[in-house]
């Protein structure tokens, strides 16, 4: 079974083979008397737990250091021309991009939650989760 790649959360096809598989899991919750919303919330809780743990771990490494590691690995890959170096550099760079997107989303959310006229604080959901 191959999970289809989607380009946005709203592009998910709930009738795809992969998602019907998830639905079977949800149905077992329904068979036990739980609601679909409860089952989906349980899935979201599990996702939130793992996401928070991952962000906490990555949040311990300052972004500047992650960027430097990606930069150094990229330089090494360019110098060696080896595929394994190239992939290591790309995997690290993907993580830098991921953390940048998280930080940007957190900053945007903090700004949108602030009452007008108040100055932005440095504490964001992502950085507070990582603390």
């Amino acid at each position: 079974m191959k999970t289809p790649y989607i380009t946005s959360a709203s592009a998910l096809d709930l009738n795809s083979e992969d998602q019907l598989d998830i639905t079977k899991g949800l149905r077992s919750c329904l068979d036990l008397g739980f609601s679909e919303d409860f089952a989906l919330n349980a899935l979201i809780s599990e996702v939130a737990g793992n996401l928070t743990d991952a962000i906490k771990i990555l949040g311990r490494v300052p972004l500047g250091i992650l960027q430097r590691a990606a930069y150094e690995l990229d330089q090494r890959a360019n110098a060696s021309g080896l595929a394994k170096d190239k992939y290591a550099a790309q995997a690290t760079w993907l993580t830098v991009e991921y953390m940048q997107k998280n930080l940007q989303a957190a900053e945007d959310t903090v700004l949108s939650l602030q009452p007008e006229g108040e100055e932005a604080t440095t504490e964001t959901p992502a950085t507070s989760a990582a603390a």
Binding site: T3, I6, S8, A9, S10, L12, L14, Q19, D21, I22, L40, L43, I44, E46, V47, A48, N50, L51, D53, A54, I55, I57, L58, R60, V61, P62, L63, G64, I65, L66, Q67, R68, A69, A70, Y71, E72, L73, D74, A83, Y87, A88, A89, A91, T92, W93, L94, T95, V96, E97, Y98, Q100, K101, N102, L103, A105, A106, T109, S112, L113, P125
Partner: protein
């Protein structure tokens, strides 16, 4: 130590304004963050190798957490949170949805990279001379799942 206060350099790097990059080549080694990083490495007797190893270690640990949930379940959670965000109109729920979607995107890109790497390794193994190929009657070596 920072010249202006007693904050350790590593903390000042963490607390200072982040510079976002669009590619690793864009990194400016003369930027105060990177100069402070070089000073920290020198002061603590470390090396760039250690820095990279520590970063890779953290990335692998984080990916272990993300990998505990199948991609299709991540996608379904992102989809549901997206619906909730639209229904509620609350920025906080929209942030939750965005954080999960960004993670789905990250995992998808890692999968694609892993597939490219495997295909490359298979092509290399097929192209290798017969004497370089592993002997099939030997016990298989356990594969490492290191992502970076």
């Amino acid at each position: 130590m920072n010249a202006q206060d007693n904050t350790p350099v590593s903390d000042s790097i963490l607390a200072s304004e982040q510079v976002f990059l669009e590619s690793p080549e864009q990194l400016d080694l003369s930027h105060p963050h990177q100069v402070a990083l070089d000073e920290m490495i020198l002061k603590e007797g470390g090396s760039v190798d250690n820095l990279i190893q520590n970063a890779i270690h953290s990335i692998n640990l984080a990916q272990n957490h993300l990998g505990r949930i199948p991609l299709n379940a991540w996608q379904r959670a992102a989809c549901r949170l997206n619906e909730k965000a639209k229904e509620s109109g609350q920025p906080q729920v929209a942030f939750d949805a965005e954080a999960v979607w960004v993670t789905v995107d990250y995992i998808q890109h890692l999968f694609k990279l892993g597939q490219k790497m495997e295909a490359h390794e298979r092509a290399n193994a097929a192209a290798a001379p017969i004497e370089d190929k592993p002997c099939t009657d030997q016990a298989p070596v356990e594969n490492s799942t290191a992502a970076a």
